[in-house]
């Protein structure tokens, strides 16, 4: 069924005109807000195009006027005037240059005693990149300059990457601070708020190079079968992260989706696990993304770990609004059978996870862990509370039909039930704070 969900819409792609006409007559995916947004975008683009076309027309008209016979004498005078000016400017430049050279040859430039001192401090820093087959150690030199008179703290980092794999290269370069330094080689921050372990990695790509976006990350994740494939694809798409740091628990790379770095993803490598965290400070969103197929690697580890993986997969699916598409829905009888056929809650939970492909429909993101599973033939759903080791059936249309399916340590509190019901109704993940409210 899961394959079918993917394949049948694909067959409709790139269809002939008659099918497109049929589809457009019958189905309209856009809501009113989207329609209005597209219309206002179209209008503003049209206005911009129109004004630039008018500007181009005006320029064309000017040229036409100059090229007419009527204005010939005028053009001649203008050209002569410019020619004289050009010659005069060239003379001034040449004489000025000669005078400057002579002056410099005669005596060294006097130092200004009153000029405030400039202090340079040099700090060595080391960053380690660890990947499965490549080990590169990068050593760079961090220059910082304190200009006391201007009360500015300008920090410049230079990192040199070594091409030799499995080798360690230490490159130290003489580095002079100049104003005309290439933008893509240096990053200057006034009063830098970066912590010591968060060094700015300087990428050598231009502004025109491809940059990761929210959708691109998921597209790559969808097409990646393994962690390495995902990492390689990300690096191929955007060779350098916007920020990189090495912490006590592993490496961390940040890719920004906007210029001020308030939205983006953090890729963390912890004990050979790859955790991708989406952040959006403007909307206070922090979510974890995970590559679903990676779960194969953790099949033989503790149940607790499996629960964590389960949470991450679902979170990722939820982010791309595909959370309900690939997971088979169960029936109430299935869950009752799992409960009756299990000697412990753990056994029941294992069966539920296998049935739901380790993907609940909703869940709380931390303790107390509550998972929600929709049912196929009913408007209700199953709540599983891991802390209390219990599962409850909630009927949306007939509350009196709600019942406990399994309860080993206790039952689900009314407060938690309400939080979960609200989460289901609004299709969002409910968190501890909502439950505690």
């Amino acid at each position: 069924m899961s394959d079918f969900k993917h394949t049948y819409p694909k067959i409709l792609e790139n269809a002939e005109d008659d099918i497109i006409e049929r589809m457009s007559e019958k189905y309209s995916p856009l809501d009113e807000d989207e329609v209005n947004r597209i219309f206002s975008k179209s209008k503003s683009k049209y206005n911009a195009m129109k004004s630039s076309a008018e500007f181009a027309d005006a320029e064309e008209q000017d040229e036409e006027y100059i090229n007419t016979g009527m204005s010939e004498w005028k053009m001649y005078r203008i050209r002569s005037f410019f020619r004289i000016t050009e010659v005069a400017a060239a003379c001034v430049l040449v004489i000025g240059g000669i005078m400057l050279c002579l002056k410099n040859l005669k005596a060294p430039a006097p130092t200004n005693e009153n000029e405030s001192p400039v202090l340079y401090s040099v700090t060595a820093l080391s960053t380690s990149h660890i990947s499965e087959s490549i080990s590169v150690t990068t050593v760079g030199v961090d220059f910082s300059r304190s200009d006391l008179s201007e009360k500015k703290d300008i920090k410049t980092s230079l990192t040199t990457l070594s091409d030799d794999l499995n080798n360690t290269t230490a490159d130290t370069k003489d580095h002079t601070l100049t104003d005309d330094k290439k933008v893509n080689e240096t990053t200057i921050t006034n009063g830098s708020s970066k912590t010591d372990d968060e060094k700015v990695v300087i990428g050598d790509y231009s502004a025109m190079s491809s940059r990761l976006s929210y959708d691109e990350v998921f597209r790559i994740a969808d097409n990646s079968e393994t962690r390495k494939e995902f990492k390689d694809s990300v690096e191929a798409f955007q060779p350098y992260p916007d920020q990189e740091s090495t912490t006590s628990y592993g490496g961390e790379k940040k890719y920004w989706f906007n210029d001020d770095g308030t939205e983006g993803i953090t890729i963390q490598e912890i004990d050979s696990r790859l955790i991708i965290l989406y952040f959006n400070n403007n909307k206070s969103i922090n979510k974890r993304i995970y590559i679903a197929s990676e779960i194969r690697e953790y099949e033989d580890i503790e149940l607790k770990e499996k629960q964590l993986d389960c949470l991450l997969i679902r979170d990722r699916n939820n982010l791309v609004n595909r959370n309900l598409q690939y997971i088979p829905l169960g029936k109430l009888e299935d869950y009752i059978n799992y409960s009756q056929g299990s000697s412990s809650f753990s056994e029941f939970w294992q069966k539920v996870m296998i049935h739901s492909c380790n993907s609940p429909d909703r869940w709380s993101r931390s303790d107390p862990m509550i998972f929600i599973y929709y049912l196929e033939d009913d408007d209700g759903y199953i709540l599983v509370d891991l802390n209390n080791a219990c599962a409850t059936y909630i009927s949306e249309n007939a509350p009196d039909k709600s019942m406990d399916i399994i309860s080993n340590k206790g039952t689900l509190s009314e407060q938690k039930k309400q939080a979960a019901i609200t989460a289901v109704n609004n299709e969002y993940d409910f968190s501890v704070s909502q439950i505690n409210e």
Binding site: M1, D3, F4, K5, T7, Y8, P9, K10, I11, L12, E13, N14, A15, E16, D17, I19, I20, E21, R22, M23, S24, K26, Y27, S28, P29, L30, D31, E34, V35, R37, I38, F39, K41, S42, K43, K45, Y46, M49, K50, S210, S213, Y214, D215, E216, A236, F237, N321, R322, N323, L324, Q325, L329, Y374, E376, D377, D379, E396, V424, N425, E427
Partner: protein
């Protein structure tokens, strides 16, 4: 809507003419763009592409517009070309320009694959027929959810039904569709590739 009608509207009020053209064709244009770029572009990119198409169309209407026939054909050509341009620019950005995919998207069949394309188009027609056979709101749910990738909340707002109903109906409708397609012998995976 014909070129003559548009010209008459433009004379009386250009703003109203633009609004009328947009209202008449926005869904058609979005369907064309989505159909071409579904696997390649994000929703935002498609919206950009649609707005580009209408901006160009408005500009053409504004100038000396001499097209007399049905405007749908004219819109179709602009929309397809823009979608292909968008595809190329996205491919160039990703450095993964695929010639095979390009020939597929630009709908220029060679002699050798005409038979395959015809068969594929027949399958598309059957799929659409079967989806319509599901009846409303199931057919709309199936198209909006799985083809257009809309979530249950968006669909529920669009169709004025509850998200829970969307969730349940989509799952059931998909099973029915699969059964219908099996009955028509078009469920083998090779034909779906």
């Amino acid at each position: 809507m014909t070129g003559n009608e548009i010209r008459a509207l433009m004379k009386s009020s250009p703003d109203n003419a633009q609004k009328a053209v947009f209202n008449e064709y926005y869904n058609y244009v979005y369907t064309i763009v989505y159909n071409k770029l579904r696997s390649y572009a994000a929703r935002e990119d498609m919206e950009e592409c649609v707005s580009d198409i209408f901006a160009e169309l408005f500009l053409k209407l504004d100038s000396d517009f001499r097209f007399n026939g049905d405007l749908a054909a004219y819109v179709n050509v602009i929309a397809k070309n823009k979608a292909i341009d968008m595809y190329r620019s996205l491919s160039a950005q990703k450095n993964s320009f695929s010639k095979a995919a390009e020939s597929e998207i630009s709908s220029l069949p060679s002699d050798t694959d005409i038979a395959a394309r015809t068969e594929r188009n027949e399958i598309r027609k059957i799929v659409i027929d079967m989806i319509e056979k599901l009846g409303e709101p199931d057919s709309s749910i199936i198209i909006l959810k799985y083809y257009y990738g809309r979530n249950s909340n968006e669909i529920s707002r669009k169709l004025s039904i509850s998200p829970a109903t969307v969730r349940k109906r989509s799952e059931r409708a998909l099973k029915r569709l699969k059964k219908l397609l099996s009955e028509n012998n078009i469920m083998d995976q090779e034909r779906f590739q």
